[in-house]
């Protein structure tokens, strides 16, 4: 496992996902990742913001290096969470990767309007999902899949 950090600390990843299947799948995929990472999982948009702002029970949470944000979330949805993040001066620099089942370009555009850093469609094929995780690694290596068009 490659440690990208000079200090050797793992990359802090926040996964905002309400679907336990996807959570597990993401965790499994990340397990196979070469990048040393530490994943925190929250189940909805409110928790995500609380985590990011280190409020309440998340007071001792680490500041994530990257946020994997599902669009379909209970309470606050992904777009709302993204809006909050990108309008918060303390948070707006955290890269956000949108995870969604929808290929809808409209969604992509909307997301980009809110300054999402990356957009990733959750594939049906696990192999492809691994590629997604790989692409997150790539992102980390500054290769970002931008929406076409």
């Amino acid at each position: 496992m490659i440690d990208y950090r000079a200090d050797g600390t793992p990359i802090e990843i926040l996964l905002v996902e309400d679907n336990p299947g996807d959570v597990r799948l993401t965790l499994e995929a990340l397990k196979e990742s070469k990048v040393h990472n530490n994943i925190s999982v929250v189940k909805d948009g409110e928790e995500a913001l609380a985590f990011l702002r280190q409020q309440d029970r998340f007071a001792n949470s680490p500041r994530p290096d990257i946020v994997l944000l599902d669009l379909n979330l209970p309470k606050l949805n992904g777009v709302e969470v993204l809006t909050e993040i990108k309008s918060d001066p303390n948070l707006k620099r955290i890269p956000v990767v949108i995870l969604t089942t929808s290929k809808d370009e409209e969604d992509i555009l909307k997301t980009y309007n809110y300054h999402a850093n990356c957009y990733v469609t959750k594939p049906v094929d696990f192999d492809k999902f691994l590629l997604v995780v790989k692409s997150i690694e790539d992102f980390w290596l500054n290769i970002v899949k931008l929406p076409h068009k």
Binding site: D22, T101, S102, D104, V124, F126
Partner: protein, 852 residues
């Protein structure tokens, strides 16, 4: 009406409504006799039999059918006038229809019926003898009556006989055909004098009217009557006294004829008397036109049978009774004329007064008595002839009995006074009559005007009910035939009135059999009546019957009334007809409008329903699309779980799995992947409308360039050659248009045959729309699948042959429909296909309500 014990008898009179004195006198006589006998009288104004089909008489003839045993017990027929146009045989035939009824004919004999005829022979013989013997005329012209008229024919025969008797040769040039009318008398003079150059000494006409016509024509020519040419007539009508000169004629005993006919009829009805044929003598009435000056006629020739002359005392001694009997006898042919009103004592009273005055100069009894008698009779007196004749008779008697010059002078004076008085009374009476007539005329005119003002039928009838009693109609019943096509069936009473005004008509009882003439409820049944039945008609359309109860003996008004009634009713009926028509039309329009309104309402409802359905449909479509979108979106989630975890499992157990398990897992993954593709396609399909964009001006060549770039990989793989020529700019959703081309071109390339795929795309302006074609040289499709290919997930091939879900064309179709265009295919298997689609040039602004 068999129950004669309880019911009053009714006699019928069949007459033509000629307004001449001949008819008036006969009708008055019959009406008087009916009154005397206490029987009802109904006058049927039938007109003359067999008239010109176009004349109104043809309409009046209908009344012959209304005469029956139900309404009359016996009939009097003035056959001389109703049989005017027909011969004896036809007359007999015509009246066969009433043969079961007692009948009396006046003037002409009818086979099997009683008759009261006038001895034409005696009267005309006396006249001719007078002209030949007394005046010495030899050239006697004769104006004949109507050819078929029996009386006229008879008069002519007598003429020939008398000529023969006096050995005067018959000259046909002196005979002229006339028809009883005044104008034919004048025409006859023209024929005689102008055409035939004849100069007769005397003209004898078969009736008075023609004689008057002849006198007028002669006067016009400056030929004085009787100095240059004598004229004589036949009938003795009222006007004869007022012609200049007064007309010498033959008097028919009309009143007596009328009275006798009623007597005969009553005998037959009540006592079943045998039929009788009575012949009444006619009397020569000598006036001025023959050459005699009758008023001053000096009876030079003494009656050879008269007793020797005596002086007044002797005359008185011979006895009043005998003298008055002599006067009565000599006045026999006139006597019944006034009998009913002055009684039989009149002659005795008059002679008594005359002799008293002769012996006592200051008594003045005669003129007073005469005055009293005349005034008693004045109202029923239709001719002053009677009194003038009476004076003449008295004078004759006086001259026969008195030789004393003194007494003669005194008698002459008395008679002169009487004549003067008669003339004066007559004159006054004439003036009075004229006044009365003009009053009646003006009343009639007023009535006509009043009626004309009321064109609505009901106010018209109100007016009739108000006005008619004023002009001598006591009561009246007006009824209309229910069915003018068969007048004899039923009639509907529309008006009934008496002196008290209009009677309420019981609507339940106002329909009655036409042949009854009036409803059973009629007031006529309650009292004796004299009525006239007139037919109402206009043109050839029978309308109904009018029955007038007569109060006045001025017969003229009834005929005038009929015309007034017909005219008013006609306009009212026309109006009613028009109104009915208008109403019918209005109702029709109403009905149509109602229908239309109904249809409209239905249509509106349908439109509303359709709109609602459309809205519902649109909504449900939108819902459905939204649902499809969400469903396919959410469906992906579990699908991803299945395939991802199977793959994860496969990955982790790679080495410990047997061959079968690996294959099974592959099937699971493959199925999930296919399903995901389909869901994804479904999403695309639903997005055609859920995620639509505005139409914008789109350059097609530019667009195609991009499309070709997009599918570059595929093109390269298949070595396809794609050419395009779309130098047009259309109004469309560019991304969707891109999708169409992409799908069509992809298909064209995909379904290639062994040949290298060639795809040719064209776009042009044709018939007001943009038409695009994508032509390939591929495998083509069978005719029967042409429509199927546009259905979602419809595939003609297995996935192994050609991959794909079969959504491409369905999406194309949906996009084109959104653009209001059409898509179709022209293809032959093995020869390639050409897909066509159109986009209208003028795109309506798209409704974006479906945009989510």
């Amino acid at each position: 009406m068999k129950d004669t014990a309880k019911k009053r008898l009714t006699i019928g009179l069949i007459t033509d409504w000629a307004e001449d004195p001949y008819h008036s006198t006969l009708r008055t006589g019959i009406a008087d006799a009916a009154e005397k006998n206490d029987v009802n009288l109904i006058c049927f104004v039938t007109g003359r039999i067999n008239p010109d089909a176009d004349s109104y008489e043809a309409q009046q003839n209908i009344l012959f059918d209304f005469v029956n045993k139900k309404n009359v017990d016996g009939l009097i027929i003035i056959s001389g006038s109703v049989g005017h146009w027909i011969g004896a045989r036809e007359l007999n035939e015509h009246f066969q229809r009433y043969k079961s009824m007692p009948m009396v004919s006046i003037a002409l004999p009818i086979a099997g019926t009683s008759s009261v005829l006038v001895d034409n022979v005696k009267g005309i013989r006396d006249l001719l003898v007078h002209l030949i013997k007394d005046h010495g005329y030899r050239k006697l012209a004769f104006i004949k009556g109507p050819e078929q008229n029996l009386e006229a024919e008879q008069r002519f025969l007598v003429y020939r006989e008398v000529l023969e008797d006096y050995k005067i040769s018959f000259d046909p040039r002196l005979i002229v055909q006339g028809d009883f009318l005044t104008k034919t008398g004048a025409a006859a003079v023209r024929v005689l004098l102008d055409e035939r150059n004849m100069t007769p000494e005397a003209i004898i006409a078969a009736n008075d009217e023609m004689a008057c016509g002849a006198i007028m024509e002669l006067k016009r020519r400056g030929i004085t009557v009787p100095q240059k040419m004598a004229v004589a007539g036949f009938d003795n009508m009222e006007m004869d006294n007022f012609t200049f000169p007064t007309l010498t004629t033959v008097q028919q005993p009309l009143y007596k004829q009328a009275m006798l006919s009623v007597d005969l009829l009553m005998g037959q009805i009540q006592n079943n008397s045998e039929t009788q044929n009575l012949l009444l003598p006619t009397e020569l009435v000598i006036r001025e036109s023959c050459g005699c000056l009758s008023m001053q006629q000096d009876k030079t020739e003494r009656n050879p049978e008269a007793p020797a002359k005596t002086d007044l005392p002797g005359l008185v001694k011979t006895g009043m009774d005998e003298f008055s009997r002599q006067l009565l006898d000599s006045m026999d042919s006139f006597i019944d004329y006034e009998k009913s009103s002055i009684g039989e004592q009149w002659a005795e009273i008059l002679i008594q007064a005359f002799f008293t005055d002769l012996s006592d100069r200051k008594a003045n009894r005669f003129t007073n008595a005469l005055n009293e008698i005349i005034y008693k009779t004045i109202n029923s007196m239709s001719s002053p002839t009677f009194w003038h004749e009476m004076i003449n008779r008295i004078r004759s008697i006086v001259y026969d009995h008195i030789s004393d010059a003194d007494f003669l002078t005194r008698a002459e004076n008395l008679l002169h006074q009487a004549r003067t008085m008669i003339c004066e009374i007559t004159r006054r009476n004439e003036i009075f009559k004229k006044l009365e007539m003009s009053t009646e005329a003006s009343r009639l005119r007023n009535l006509g005007e009043e009626l004309l003002e009321r064109i609505e039928i009901d106010p018209l009838l109100d007016e009739v009910a108000k006005e008619l009693p004023r002009i001598g109609v006591k009561s009246s019943y007006l009824s209309m035939y229910k069915n003018p096509e068969s007048p004899l069936e039923n009639s509907k009473l529309i008006l009934a009135f008496n002196e008290d005004g209009r009677l309420d008509i019981d609507l339940n009882k106002n329909i009655f059999p036409s042949k009854n003439l009036f409803p059973d409820s009629s007031e006529f049944k309650k009292r004796r009546f004299t009525a006239i039945v007139e037919t109402l008609f206009y043109g050839k359309q029978p309308l109904g019957l009018a029955i007038f109860e007569m109060a006045s003996r001025n017969w003229k008004i009834y005929e005038a009334l009929r015309f007034v009634m017909i005219n008013s009713l006609r306009s009212s009926l026309l109006l009613k007809q028009l109104q009915d028509q208008a109403n019918r039309l209005e109702e029709e329009v109403k009905a149509r409008t109602k229908d239309l309104t109904k249809i409209n309402t239905k249509l509106e409802r349908e439109i509303r329903e359709r709109k609602r359905t459309e809205e519902d449909l649109t909504r449900s479509n939108a819902d459905l699309e939204q649902f499809a979108y969400i469903a396919s979106h959410d469906l992906q989630e579990p699908l991803r779980m299945v395939s991802s975890y199977v793959q994860l499992l496969e990955r982790r157990l790679k080495n410990s799995l047997d061959k079968d398990s690996g294959e099974f897992m592959d099937f699971i993954v493959d199925g999930a992947k296919r399903m995901q593709t389909m869901i994804s396609d479904l999403l695309t399909y639903s997005r055609v409308t859920t995620n639509q964009k505005q139409f914008i001006s789109t350059d097609c060549n530019q667009l195609l360039e991009k499309v070709v770039t997009n599918i570059q990989t595929m093109v390269a793989e298949t070595k396809a050659k794609i050419t395009y020529s779309c130098p047009i700019t259309v109004n469309a959703d560019p991304s969707q248009l891109t999708q169409i081309f992409q799908n069509l071109i992809a298909n064209a390339v995909k379904f290639h045959s062994e040949k290298e795929p060639r795809v040719e795309i064209k776009g042009e302006d044709k018939n007001g729309e943009w038409i695009f074609s994508v032509k390939d040289n591929g495998i083509g499709i069978d005719e029967k699948f042409k429509n199927k290919i546009f259905v979602m997930f419809q595939r003609l091939h297995t996935r192994n042959e050609y991959p794909g879900t079969g959504i491409g064309l369905a999406i194309c179709k949906k996009i084109i429909e959104r653009h209001k265009g059409r898509i179709w295919i022209d293809s032959k298997p093995g020869k390639g296909s050409t897909f066509y689609f159109t986009i209208p040039k003028t795109q309506e602004k798209q409704n974006d309500r479906l945009q989510s």
